[in-house]
Protein backbone atom coordinates (compact mmCIF):
# COMPACT_ATOMS: atom_id res chain seq x y z
CA UNK A 1 0.00 0.00 0.00
CA UNK A 2 1.42 3.39 -0.92
CA UNK A 3 1.38 6.09 1.64
CA UNK A 4 -1.28 8.02 -0.19
CA UNK A 5 -3.54 4.97 -0.28
CA UNK A 6 -2.96 4.54 3.40
CA UNK A 7 -3.87 8.16 3.98
CA UNK A 8 -7.06 7.80 2.03
CA UNK A 9 -7.96 4.71 3.99
CA UNK A 10 -7.44 6.50 7.29
CA UNK A 11 -9.51 9.36 5.96
CA UNK A 12 -12.40 7.03 5.18
CA UNK A 13 -12.04 5.21 8.48
CA UNK A 14 -12.31 8.45 10.39
CA UNK A 15 -15.34 9.43 8.41
CA UNK A 16 -17.04 6.20 9.45
CA UNK A 17 -16.02 6.80 13.06
CA UNK A 18 -17.38 10.34 12.86
CA UNK A 19 -20.74 9.11 11.63
CA UNK A 20 -20.69 6.53 14.39
CA UNK A 21 -20.00 9.09 17.15
CA UNK A 22 -22.61 11.48 15.84
CA UNK A 23 -25.10 8.68 15.81
CA UNK A 24 -24.22 7.59 19.32
CA UNK A 25 -25.25 11.02 20.46
CA UNK A 26 -28.44 10.96 18.46
CA UNK A 27 -29.26 7.38 19.42
CA UNK A 28 -28.83 8.03 23.11
CA UNK A 29 -31.15 10.98 22.66
CA UNK A 30 -33.64 8.77 20.84
CA UNK A 31 -33.50 5.97 23.44
CA UNK A 32 -34.04 8.56 26.02
CA UNK A 33 -37.04 10.13 24.45
CA UNK A 34 -38.59 6.81 23.46
CA UNK A 35 -38.12 5.43 26.98
CA UNK A 36 -39.78 8.42 28.58
CA UNK A 37 -42.52 8.66 26.01
CA UNK A 38 -43.36 4.97 26.32
CA UNK A 39 -43.61 5.30 30.06
CA UNK A 40 -45.60 8.49 30.16
CA UNK A 41 -47.42 9.44 27.01
CA UNK A 42 -50.53 7.42 27.78
CA UNK A 43 -50.92 9.30 31.02
CA UNK A 44 -51.12 12.71 29.41
CA UNK A 45 -54.62 13.93 28.90
CA UNK A 46 -56.62 17.02 29.63
CA UNK A 47 -57.24 15.96 33.22
CA UNK A 48 -53.56 15.42 33.86
CA UNK A 49 -52.83 18.94 32.71
CA UNK A 50 -55.65 20.55 34.68
CA UNK A 51 -55.87 18.49 37.87
CA UNK A 52 -54.48 19.52 41.19
CA UNK A 53 -51.97 17.31 42.98
CA UNK A 54 -53.39 14.21 44.55
CA UNK A 55 -52.36 11.22 46.60
CA UNK A 56 -53.85 9.00 43.94
CA UNK A 57 -51.54 8.79 41.01
CA UNK A 58 -54.44 8.37 38.61
CA UNK A 59 -56.08 11.58 39.80
CA UNK A 60 -52.99 13.67 40.27
CA UNK A 61 -52.36 16.47 37.82
CA UNK A 62 -49.73 19.05 37.13
CA UNK A 63 -51.77 22.20 36.88
CA UNK A 64 -50.05 23.98 39.73
CA UNK A 65 -46.66 22.71 38.65
CA UNK A 66 -46.77 24.00 35.13
CA UNK A 67 -48.55 27.15 36.20
CA UNK A 68 -45.72 27.71 38.68
CA UNK A 69 -43.19 26.99 35.98
CA UNK A 70 -44.78 29.51 33.63
CA UNK A 71 -45.02 32.14 36.34
CA UNK A 72 -41.42 31.59 37.18
CA UNK A 73 -40.42 31.80 33.53
CA UNK A 74 -42.22 35.06 32.97
CA UNK A 75 -40.92 36.66 36.17
CA UNK A 76 -37.40 35.45 35.46
CA UNK A 77 -37.59 36.85 31.95
CA UNK A 78 -38.86 40.20 33.22
CA UNK A 79 -36.07 40.48 35.76
CA UNK A 80 -33.17 39.12 33.76
CA UNK A 81 -33.99 40.68 30.40
CA UNK A 82 -33.27 44.35 31.19
CA UNK A 83 -30.33 43.52 33.43
CA UNK A 84 -28.68 41.11 31.04
CA UNK A 85 -29.26 43.10 27.89
CA UNK A 86 -28.26 46.34 29.64
CA UNK A 87 -25.03 44.80 30.85
CA UNK A 88 -24.38 43.31 27.43
CA UNK A 89 -24.87 46.67 25.74
CA UNK A 90 -22.66 48.42 28.24
CA UNK A 91 -19.81 45.98 27.85
CA UNK A 92 -20.00 45.85 24.08
CA UNK A 93 -20.73 49.46 23.22
CA UNK A 94 -19.60 51.69 26.05
CA UNK A 95 -16.90 50.18 28.16
CA UNK A 96 -13.41 51.14 27.21
CA UNK A 97 -10.68 48.60 27.46
CA UNK A 98 -9.54 49.13 31.01
CA UNK A 99 -9.15 47.26 34.24
CA UNK A 100 -12.83 47.48 35.17
CA UNK A 101 -14.07 46.15 31.86
CA UNK A 102 -11.53 43.39 31.98
CA UNK A 103 -12.60 42.53 35.48
CA UNK A 104 -16.27 42.60 34.52
CA UNK A 105 -15.60 40.29 31.65
CA UNK A 106 -13.72 37.69 33.64
CA UNK A 107 -16.24 37.99 36.42
CA UNK A 108 -19.09 37.19 34.06
CA UNK A 109 -17.20 34.25 32.61
CA UNK A 110 -16.80 33.02 36.16
CA UNK A 111 -20.43 33.47 37.09
CA UNK A 112 -21.43 31.45 34.05
CA UNK A 113 -19.53 28.52 35.51
CA UNK A 114 -20.76 28.72 39.09
CA UNK A 115 -22.77 25.56 39.82
CA UNK A 116 -26.49 26.16 40.08
CA UNK A 117 -26.63 24.79 43.57
CA UNK A 118 -24.45 27.65 44.76
CA UNK A 119 -26.94 30.10 43.32
CA UNK A 120 -29.46 28.23 45.42
CA UNK A 121 -27.42 28.96 48.55
CA UNK A 122 -27.15 32.61 47.50
CA UNK A 123 -30.89 32.88 46.92
CA UNK A 124 -31.64 31.22 50.23
CA UNK A 125 -29.45 33.64 52.15
CA UNK A 126 -30.22 36.88 50.28
CA UNK A 127 -33.76 36.64 48.97
CA UNK A 128 -35.43 34.15 51.29
CA UNK A 129 -33.79 35.19 54.54
CA UNK A 130 -32.39 38.73 54.30
CA UNK A 131 -35.04 40.20 52.04
CA UNK A 132 -37.71 38.11 53.77
CA UNK A 133 -39.36 37.04 50.57
CA UNK A 134 -39.80 33.52 51.88
CA UNK A 135 -40.07 30.65 49.44
CA UNK A 136 -42.08 32.81 47.06
CA UNK A 137 -42.19 32.95 43.30
CA UNK A 138 -40.29 36.21 43.47
CA UNK A 139 -37.45 34.69 45.47
CA UNK A 140 -37.29 31.81 43.01
CA UNK A 141 -37.36 34.10 40.00
CA UNK A 142 -34.64 36.34 41.41
CA UNK A 143 -32.46 33.31 42.09
CA UNK A 144 -32.94 31.92 38.60
CA UNK A 145 -32.41 35.38 37.10
CA UNK A 146 -28.98 35.61 38.64
CA UNK A 147 -28.30 32.08 37.45
CA UNK A 148 -29.02 32.89 33.81
CA UNK A 149 -27.76 36.45 33.80
CA UNK A 150 -24.27 35.54 32.56
CA UNK A 151 -25.72 33.52 29.68
CA UNK A 152 -27.88 36.43 28.60
CA UNK A 153 -25.01 38.89 28.85
CA UNK A 154 -22.71 36.72 26.79
CA UNK A 155 -25.25 36.03 24.06
CA UNK A 156 -26.32 39.67 23.95
CA UNK A 157 -22.72 40.63 23.40
CA UNK A 158 -22.33 38.07 20.65
CA UNK A 159 -25.48 39.31 18.95
CA UNK A 160 -24.37 42.93 19.17
CA UNK A 161 -20.93 42.04 17.91
CA UNK A 162 -22.49 40.49 14.82
CA UNK A 163 -23.92 43.85 13.79
CA UNK A 164 -21.35 45.15 11.35
CA UNK A 165 -19.43 48.29 12.21
CA UNK A 166 -20.55 49.75 8.91
CA UNK A 167 -24.08 50.16 10.25
CA UNK A 168 -22.80 52.03 13.29
CA UNK A 169 -20.57 54.16 11.07
CA UNK A 170 -23.53 54.94 8.86
CA UNK A 171 -25.58 56.10 11.79
CA UNK A 172 -22.82 58.15 13.43
CA UNK A 173 -22.03 59.79 10.14
CA UNK A 174 -25.59 61.07 9.96
CA UNK A 175 -25.18 62.79 13.30
CA UNK A 176 -26.78 60.19 15.54
CA UNK A 177 -25.62 60.02 19.14
CA UNK A 178 -24.34 56.85 20.67
CA UNK A 179 -27.61 55.86 22.28
CA UNK A 180 -29.60 56.82 19.18
CA UNK A 181 -27.36 54.55 17.18
CA UNK A 182 -27.76 51.71 19.64
CA UNK A 183 -31.50 52.14 19.96
CA UNK A 184 -32.29 52.70 16.28
CA UNK A 185 -29.74 50.45 14.62
CA UNK A 186 -27.84 48.08 16.83
CA UNK A 187 -30.68 46.74 18.93
CA UNK A 188 -33.18 46.19 16.12
CA UNK A 189 -30.51 44.47 14.08
CA UNK A 190 -29.39 42.22 16.92
CA UNK A 191 -32.78 41.66 18.47
CA UNK A 192 -33.20 38.19 17.02
CA UNK A 193 -29.88 37.10 18.44
CA UNK A 194 -30.61 38.60 21.82
CA UNK A 195 -33.99 36.96 21.96
CA UNK A 196 -32.46 33.64 21.01
CA UNK A 197 -30.02 33.97 23.89
CA UNK A 198 -32.74 34.78 26.37
CA UNK A 199 -34.91 31.91 25.29
CA UNK A 200 -32.01 29.49 25.52
CA UNK A 201 -31.21 30.83 28.97
CA UNK A 202 -34.83 30.39 30.04
CA UNK A 203 -34.86 26.86 28.75
CA UNK A 204 -31.95 26.23 31.05
CA UNK A 205 -33.84 27.79 33.96
CA UNK A 206 -36.94 25.73 33.31
CA UNK A 207 -35.17 22.47 34.04
CA UNK A 208 -33.46 23.58 37.22
CA UNK A 209 -34.48 21.73 40.34
CA UNK A 210 -31.49 21.96 42.65
CA UNK A 211 -31.44 25.71 43.42
CA UNK A 212 -35.21 25.78 43.93
CA UNK A 213 -35.01 22.85 46.31
CA UNK A 214 -32.37 24.74 48.24
CA UNK A 215 -34.50 27.87 48.53
CA UNK A 216 -37.39 25.69 49.69
CA UNK A 217 -39.97 25.56 46.92
CA UNK A 218 -42.99 23.59 48.03
CA UNK A 219 -44.28 20.20 47.01
CA UNK A 220 -48.05 20.38 47.51
CA UNK A 221 -49.65 23.55 46.24
CA UNK A 222 -53.31 23.03 45.41
CA UNK A 223 -53.86 26.45 43.86
CA UNK A 224 -52.26 28.34 41.02
CA UNK A 225 -50.24 31.32 42.22
CA UNK A 226 -51.99 34.65 41.96
CA UNK A 227 -49.14 37.00 42.78
CA UNK A 228 -45.34 36.96 42.77
CA UNK A 229 -45.36 36.66 46.54
CA UNK A 230 -47.28 33.40 46.51
CA UNK A 231 -45.70 30.08 47.21
CA UNK A 232 -45.24 27.80 44.28
CA UNK A 233 -44.09 24.52 42.93
CA UNK A 234 -42.53 23.75 39.54
CA UNK A 235 -42.38 20.77 37.24
CA UNK A 236 -38.87 19.56 38.12
CA UNK A 237 -39.79 19.51 41.79
CA UNK A 238 -43.05 17.73 41.10
CA UNK A 239 -41.09 15.18 39.07
CA UNK A 240 -38.54 14.76 41.80
CA UNK A 241 -41.29 14.38 44.36
CA UNK A 242 -43.14 11.77 42.33
CA UNK A 243 -40.08 9.72 41.62
CA UNK A 244 -39.56 9.39 45.34
CA UNK A 245 -43.02 7.98 46.00
CA UNK A 246 -43.30 4.27 46.73
CA UNK A 247 -46.18 3.55 44.34
CA UNK A 248 -45.17 2.49 40.86
CA UNK A 249 -47.95 4.58 39.24
CA UNK A 250 -46.27 7.76 40.34
CA UNK A 251 -43.31 6.84 38.16
CA UNK A 252 -45.70 6.93 35.23
CA UNK A 253 -46.86 10.33 36.39
CA UNK A 254 -43.28 11.48 36.65
CA UNK A 255 -42.60 10.28 33.11
CA UNK A 256 -45.67 12.13 31.87
CA UNK A 257 -44.56 15.28 33.68
CA UNK A 258 -41.09 14.87 32.17
CA UNK A 259 -42.68 14.78 28.74
CA UNK A 260 -44.46 18.04 29.49
CA UNK A 261 -41.24 19.57 30.81
CA UNK A 262 -39.32 18.40 27.76
CA UNK A 263 -42.07 19.76 25.58
CA UNK A 264 -41.66 23.19 27.16
CA UNK A 265 -37.87 22.97 26.85
CA UNK A 266 -38.04 21.86 23.22
CA UNK A 267 -40.61 24.48 22.43
CA UNK A 268 -38.33 27.17 23.80
CA UNK A 269 -35.34 25.73 21.96
CA UNK A 270 -37.36 25.38 18.81
CA UNK A 271 -38.37 29.01 18.95
CA UNK A 272 -34.76 29.96 19.52
CA UNK A 273 -33.51 27.91 16.57
CA UNK A 274 -36.29 29.29 14.40
CA UNK A 275 -35.43 32.86 15.32
CA UNK A 276 -31.76 32.23 14.74
CA UNK A 277 -32.33 30.78 11.29
CA UNK A 278 -34.78 33.50 10.36
CA UNK A 279 -32.34 36.14 11.47
CA UNK A 280 -29.53 34.53 9.49
CA UNK A 281 -31.69 34.43 6.38
CA UNK A 282 -33.07 37.91 6.71
CA UNK A 283 -29.95 39.91 7.34
CA UNK A 284 -27.07 39.11 5.05
CA UNK A 285 -24.54 41.81 5.63
Amino acid sequence: MTSSERNRLKDKAFQVFGVFCTFIGLIVLAIFLIDIIQKGIARIDWDFLTNLPSRRASRAGILTAWAGTLWLLVLTAIISFPLGVGAGIYLEEYSRKNKLSNFLEINIANLAGVPSIIYGLLGLEIFVRQMRLGSSLLAGALTLSLLILPIIIVTTREAIKAVPGSVRDGSFALGASKWQTIWNQVLPASFGGILTGIILALSRAVGEAAPLIVIGALAYVPFTPASPLDEFTVLPIQIFNWTSRPQEEFVTNAAAAIIVLLFITFLLNGIAVYLRNKQQKKVKW
Binding site: F14, A87, L104, Y119, V214, F266, N269
Partner: protein
Protein backbone atom coordinates in the same frame (compact mmCIF):
# COMPACT_ATOMS: atom_id res chain seq x y z
CA UNK B 1 -29.83 65.20 25.25
CA UNK B 2 -26.33 65.06 26.64
CA UNK B 3 -27.80 64.48 30.08
CA UNK B 4 -30.16 61.73 29.06
CA UNK B 5 -27.27 60.04 27.25
CA UNK B 6 -25.32 60.11 30.48
CA UNK B 7 -28.23 58.74 32.49
CA UNK B 8 -28.71 55.88 30.07
CA UNK B 9 -25.03 55.07 30.15
CA UNK B 10 -25.20 55.13 33.92
CA UNK B 11 -28.09 52.69 34.02
CA UNK B 12 -26.34 50.35 31.63
CA UNK B 13 -23.20 50.58 33.71
CA UNK B 14 -25.24 49.70 36.74
CA UNK B 15 -26.63 46.55 35.19
CA UNK B 16 -23.11 45.50 34.26
CA UNK B 17 -21.86 46.17 37.76
CA UNK B 18 -24.64 44.13 39.31
CA UNK B 19 -22.76 41.07 38.15
CA UNK B 20 -19.98 42.07 40.49
CA UNK B 21 -22.48 42.32 43.31
CA UNK B 22 -23.62 38.80 42.52
CA UNK B 23 -20.09 37.53 42.85
CA UNK B 24 -19.60 39.45 46.06
CA UNK B 25 -22.89 38.01 47.29
CA UNK B 26 -21.81 34.48 46.52
CA UNK B 27 -18.45 34.92 48.16
CA UNK B 28 -19.97 36.64 51.15
CA UNK B 29 -22.61 33.96 51.68
CA UNK B 30 -20.09 31.17 51.30
CA UNK B 31 -17.43 32.89 53.38
CA UNK B 32 -19.55 34.10 56.28
CA UNK B 33 -20.74 30.60 57.03
CA UNK B 34 -17.48 28.86 56.27
CA UNK B 35 -15.49 31.27 58.43
CA UNK B 36 -17.61 30.10 61.33
CA UNK B 37 -17.01 26.55 60.17
CA UNK B 38 -13.25 26.96 60.07
CA UNK B 39 -13.22 28.50 63.50
CA UNK B 40 -14.39 25.12 64.77
CA UNK B 41 -12.63 22.81 62.35
CA UNK B 42 -8.97 23.29 61.52
CA UNK B 43 -8.33 23.91 57.89
CA UNK B 44 -5.48 21.42 58.01
CA UNK B 45 -7.85 18.67 59.11
CA UNK B 46 -10.26 19.78 56.46
CA UNK B 47 -7.65 19.31 53.78
CA UNK B 48 -5.80 16.29 55.09
CA UNK B 49 -8.26 14.04 56.91
CA UNK B 50 -9.30 11.05 54.90
CA UNK B 51 -12.86 10.77 56.14
CA UNK B 52 -15.93 12.94 55.79
CA UNK B 53 -18.58 12.13 58.38
CA UNK B 54 -19.79 15.49 59.68
CA UNK B 55 -23.37 14.29 60.10
CA UNK B 56 -22.52 11.32 62.26
CA UNK B 57 -21.79 11.00 65.92
CA UNK B 58 -18.10 10.48 65.23
CA UNK B 59 -17.42 13.59 63.18
CA UNK B 60 -14.57 13.75 60.68
CA UNK B 61 -14.14 16.72 58.42
CA UNK B 62 -11.80 15.62 55.65
CA UNK B 63 -13.03 17.03 52.32
CA UNK B 64 -10.76 14.70 50.34
CA UNK B 65 -13.31 11.90 49.83
CA UNK B 66 -15.78 14.38 48.34
CA UNK B 67 -13.08 15.89 46.15
CA UNK B 68 -12.02 12.43 45.03
CA UNK B 69 -15.61 11.55 44.18
CA UNK B 70 -16.02 14.77 42.24
CA UNK B 71 -12.80 14.28 40.32
CA UNK B 72 -13.62 10.66 39.58
CA UNK B 73 -17.05 11.34 38.07
CA UNK B 74 -15.67 14.34 36.21
CA UNK B 75 -12.81 12.32 34.80
CA UNK B 76 -15.14 9.60 33.55
CA UNK B 77 -17.46 12.19 32.03
CA UNK B 78 -14.60 13.85 30.17
CA UNK B 79 -13.19 10.52 29.08
CA UNK B 80 -16.54 9.87 27.42
CA UNK B 81 -17.27 13.37 26.13
CA UNK B 82 -13.87 14.47 24.85
CA UNK B 83 -13.20 11.82 22.19
CA UNK B 84 -16.82 11.63 21.09
CA UNK B 85 -17.40 15.38 21.20
CA UNK B 86 -14.20 16.23 19.36
CA UNK B 87 -14.81 13.56 16.73
CA UNK B 88 -18.29 14.93 16.16
CA UNK B 89 -16.93 18.45 15.89
CA UNK B 90 -14.36 17.44 13.29
CA UNK B 91 -16.80 15.25 11.45
CA UNK B 92 -19.46 17.93 11.24
CA UNK B 93 -17.01 20.62 10.22
CA UNK B 94 -14.80 18.80 7.76
CA UNK B 95 -16.80 15.88 6.41
CA UNK B 96 -20.49 16.47 6.82
CA UNK B 97 -22.63 18.30 4.33
CA UNK B 98 -23.62 21.78 5.48
CA UNK B 99 -27.28 20.89 5.80
CA UNK B 100 -26.50 17.79 7.84
CA UNK B 101 -24.48 19.96 10.19
CA UNK B 102 -27.32 22.43 10.44
CA UNK B 103 -29.72 19.69 11.48
CA UNK B 104 -27.46 17.61 13.70
CA UNK B 105 -25.86 20.37 15.73
CA UNK B 106 -29.03 21.69 17.35
CA UNK B 107 -30.30 18.14 17.84
CA UNK B 108 -27.20 17.28 19.80
CA UNK B 109 -27.55 20.48 21.76
CA UNK B 110 -30.87 19.14 22.99
CA UNK B 111 -28.83 16.67 25.04
CA UNK B 112 -27.57 19.56 27.14
CA UNK B 113 -31.03 20.95 27.82
CA UNK B 114 -32.69 17.83 29.19
CA UNK B 115 -33.35 18.37 32.89
CA UNK B 116 -30.66 16.65 34.88
CA UNK B 117 -33.16 14.97 37.18
CA UNK B 118 -34.22 13.00 34.14
CA UNK B 119 -30.64 12.02 33.40
CA UNK B 120 -30.17 10.89 36.97
CA UNK B 121 -32.95 8.35 36.76
CA UNK B 122 -31.79 7.27 33.35
CA UNK B 123 -28.38 6.48 34.82
CA UNK B 124 -29.83 4.67 37.80
CA UNK B 125 -32.53 2.64 36.11
CA UNK B 126 -31.18 2.05 32.60
CA UNK B 127 -27.43 2.49 32.42
CA UNK B 128 -26.44 0.85 35.69
CA UNK B 129 -28.49 -2.36 35.16
CA UNK B 130 -27.11 -2.54 31.62
CA UNK B 131 -23.53 -2.14 32.82
CA UNK B 132 -24.11 -4.75 35.50
CA UNK B 133 -24.72 -7.33 32.80
CA UNK B 134 -21.17 -6.62 31.62
CA UNK B 135 -19.48 -5.94 34.96
CA UNK B 136 -21.24 -8.11 37.54
CA UNK B 137 -19.30 -6.57 40.42
CA UNK B 138 -20.68 -3.11 39.67
CA UNK B 139 -22.56 -1.67 42.62
CA UNK B 140 -26.06 -0.25 42.22
CA UNK B 141 -24.66 3.20 42.83
CA UNK B 142 -21.37 3.94 41.19
CA UNK B 143 -19.27 6.67 39.70
CA UNK B 144 -19.06 4.87 36.36
CA UNK B 145 -22.64 5.05 35.28
CA UNK B 146 -23.18 8.56 36.63
CA UNK B 147 -19.97 9.67 34.91
CA UNK B 148 -20.93 8.13 31.58
CA UNK B 149 -24.34 9.75 31.59
CA UNK B 150 -22.84 13.06 32.62
CA UNK B 151 -20.40 12.62 29.74
CA UNK B 152 -23.28 12.20 27.34
CA UNK B 153 -24.86 15.32 28.72
CA UNK B 154 -21.74 17.43 28.08
CA UNK B 155 -21.00 16.01 24.61
CA UNK B 156 -22.77 18.95 22.96
CA UNK B 157 -20.74 21.45 24.97
CA UNK B 158 -17.57 20.04 23.52
CA UNK B 159 -18.91 19.25 20.06
CA UNK B 160 -20.64 22.58 19.50
CA UNK B 161 -18.01 24.86 21.01
CA UNK B 162 -15.18 22.97 19.33
CA UNK B 163 -16.99 23.04 16.02
CA UNK B 164 -17.38 26.80 16.40
CA UNK B 165 -13.67 27.07 17.11
CA UNK B 166 -12.77 24.96 14.07
CA UNK B 167 -15.13 27.02 11.92
CA UNK B 168 -13.35 30.13 13.09
CA UNK B 169 -10.02 28.94 11.72
CA UNK B 170 -9.45 31.17 8.72
CA UNK B 171 -10.47 29.61 5.44
CA UNK B 172 -7.04 30.41 4.09
CA UNK B 173 -5.40 27.85 6.38
CA UNK B 174 -7.83 25.17 5.39
CA UNK B 175 -7.21 25.97 1.73
CA UNK B 176 -3.49 25.98 2.23
CA UNK B 177 -3.68 22.49 3.64
CA UNK B 178 -5.92 21.15 0.92
CA UNK B 179 -3.82 22.96 -1.64
CA UNK B 180 -0.81 20.88 -0.59
CA UNK B 181 -2.69 17.65 -1.17
CA UNK B 182 -3.77 16.88 2.39
CA UNK B 183 -6.64 14.51 2.96
CA UNK B 184 -9.52 15.78 5.06
CA UNK B 185 -8.20 13.86 8.05
CA UNK B 186 -4.75 15.38 7.64
CA UNK B 187 -6.25 18.82 7.25
CA UNK B 188 -8.39 18.33 10.33
CA UNK B 189 -5.78 17.02 12.72
CA UNK B 190 -2.67 18.49 11.14
CA UNK B 191 -3.94 22.04 10.75
CA UNK B 192 -7.46 22.80 11.94
CA UNK B 193 -7.42 21.19 15.37
CA UNK B 194 -4.02 22.63 16.32
CA UNK B 195 -5.07 26.04 15.04
CA UNK B 196 -8.33 25.85 16.95
CA UNK B 197 -6.69 24.32 19.99
CA UNK B 198 -7.33 27.27 22.26
CA UNK B 199 -11.04 27.19 21.49
CA UNK B 200 -11.12 23.45 21.93
CA UNK B 201 -9.29 23.63 25.23
CA UNK B 202 -11.74 26.27 26.39
CA UNK B 203 -14.67 24.06 25.48
CA UNK B 204 -13.16 21.16 27.37
CA UNK B 205 -12.48 23.25 30.44
CA UNK B 206 -16.00 24.60 30.42
CA UNK B 207 -17.26 21.05 30.10
CA UNK B 208 -15.09 20.01 33.06
CA UNK B 209 -16.44 22.89 35.04
CA UNK B 210 -19.98 21.88 34.20
CA UNK B 211 -19.25 18.29 35.23
CA UNK B 212 -17.68 19.38 38.49
CA UNK B 213 -20.77 21.42 39.34
CA UNK B 214 -23.37 18.96 38.12
CA UNK B 215 -25.66 17.91 40.94
CA UNK B 216 -28.74 15.85 40.29
CA UNK B 217 -27.18 13.10 38.16
CA UNK B 218 -24.57 12.23 40.72
CA UNK B 219 -26.93 12.73 43.63
CA UNK B 220 -29.28 10.14 42.19
CA UNK B 221 -26.94 7.66 40.55
CA UNK B 222 -23.47 7.82 42.09
CA UNK B 223 -24.42 7.08 45.66
CA UNK B 224 -24.01 9.14 48.78
CA UNK B 225 -21.11 7.50 50.41
CA UNK B 226 -18.02 9.66 50.86
CA UNK B 227 -15.09 7.44 50.18
CA UNK B 228 -11.49 8.14 49.28
CA UNK B 229 -11.18 5.95 46.24
CA UNK B 230 -10.65 6.07 42.52
CA UNK B 231 -12.55 2.84 41.95
CA UNK B 232 -15.40 3.69 39.58
CA UNK B 233 -17.40 0.59 40.47
CA UNK B 234 -18.42 1.51 44.01
CA UNK B 235 -20.69 4.19 45.46
CA UNK B 236 -19.02 7.54 46.10
CA UNK B 237 -20.19 11.01 46.98
CA UNK B 238 -19.43 14.28 45.23
CA UNK B 239 -19.34 17.76 46.71
CA UNK B 240 -22.58 18.73 45.02
CA UNK B 241 -24.33 15.58 46.15
CA UNK B 242 -23.38 16.37 49.69
CA UNK B 243 -24.81 19.87 49.44
CA UNK B 244 -28.08 18.74 47.96
CA UNK B 245 -28.33 15.85 50.39
CA UNK B 246 -28.07 18.19 53.32
CA UNK B 247 -30.40 20.73 51.74
CA UNK B 248 -33.01 18.03 51.21
CA UNK B 249 -32.64 16.83 54.72
CA UNK B 250 -33.31 18.94 57.72
CA UNK B 251 -30.09 20.22 59.16
CA UNK B 252 -30.88 23.01 61.61
CA UNK B 253 -29.78 26.39 60.36
CA UNK B 254 -26.77 27.71 62.22
CA UNK B 255 -25.39 24.37 63.36
CA UNK B 256 -21.95 23.08 62.51
CA UNK B 257 -23.56 20.48 60.26
CA UNK B 258 -25.30 23.24 58.36
CA UNK B 259 -22.05 25.09 57.91
CA UNK B 260 -20.40 22.09 56.34
CA UNK B 261 -22.40 22.71 53.18
CA UNK B 262 -20.84 26.13 52.89
CA UNK B 263 -17.37 24.75 53.46
CA UNK B 264 -18.10 22.19 50.76
CA UNK B 265 -19.67 24.94 48.64
CA UNK B 266 -16.64 27.16 48.83
CA UNK B 267 -14.42 24.26 47.85
CA UNK B 268 -16.62 23.70 44.84
CA UNK B 269 -16.59 27.39 44.05
CA UNK B 270 -12.81 27.54 44.17
CA UNK B 271 -12.58 24.60 41.79
CA UNK B 272 -14.93 26.03 39.20
CA UNK B 273 -13.52 29.51 39.69
CA UNK B 274 -10.03 28.27 38.89
CA UNK B 275 -11.23 26.34 35.84
CA UNK B 276 -13.22 29.26 34.50
CA UNK B 277 -10.33 31.61 34.97
CA UNK B 278 -7.97 29.33 33.14
CA UNK B 279 -10.35 29.00 30.23
CA UNK B 280 -10.95 32.73 30.19
CA UNK B 281 -7.28 33.54 29.98
CA UNK B 282 -6.64 30.97 27.30
CA UNK B 283 -9.46 32.46 25.29
CA UNK B 284 -8.21 35.99 25.79
CA UNK B 285 -4.66 35.14 24.97
CA UNK B 286 -5.39 33.40 21.70
CA UNK B 287 -8.39 35.36 20.57
CA UNK B 288 -6.53 37.89 18.47
CA UNK B 289 -4.16 35.42 16.90
CA UNK B 290 -5.69 35.58 13.45
CA UNK B 291 -6.83 39.19 13.32
Amino acid sequence: MRVSEKIIEGLLWLSAVITILVTIGIIWVLLSESVAFFSEVSIVDFLTEKEWTPLFADKKFGIMPLVAGTLLTTFIAIAVALPIGLTIAVYLNVYAHATLKQVVKPMLEVLATIPTVVYGFFALTVVTPFLQTIIPSLAGFNALSAGIVMGIMIIPMISSLSEDAISAVPRSLREAAYGMGSTRLQTAFGVLVPAASSGIVVSVILAISRAVGETMIVAIAAGQQPRLTLNPLVPIETITTYIVQVSLGDVPHGSLEYRTIFAAGITLFIFTFALNNISFWIKKKYQEKYD
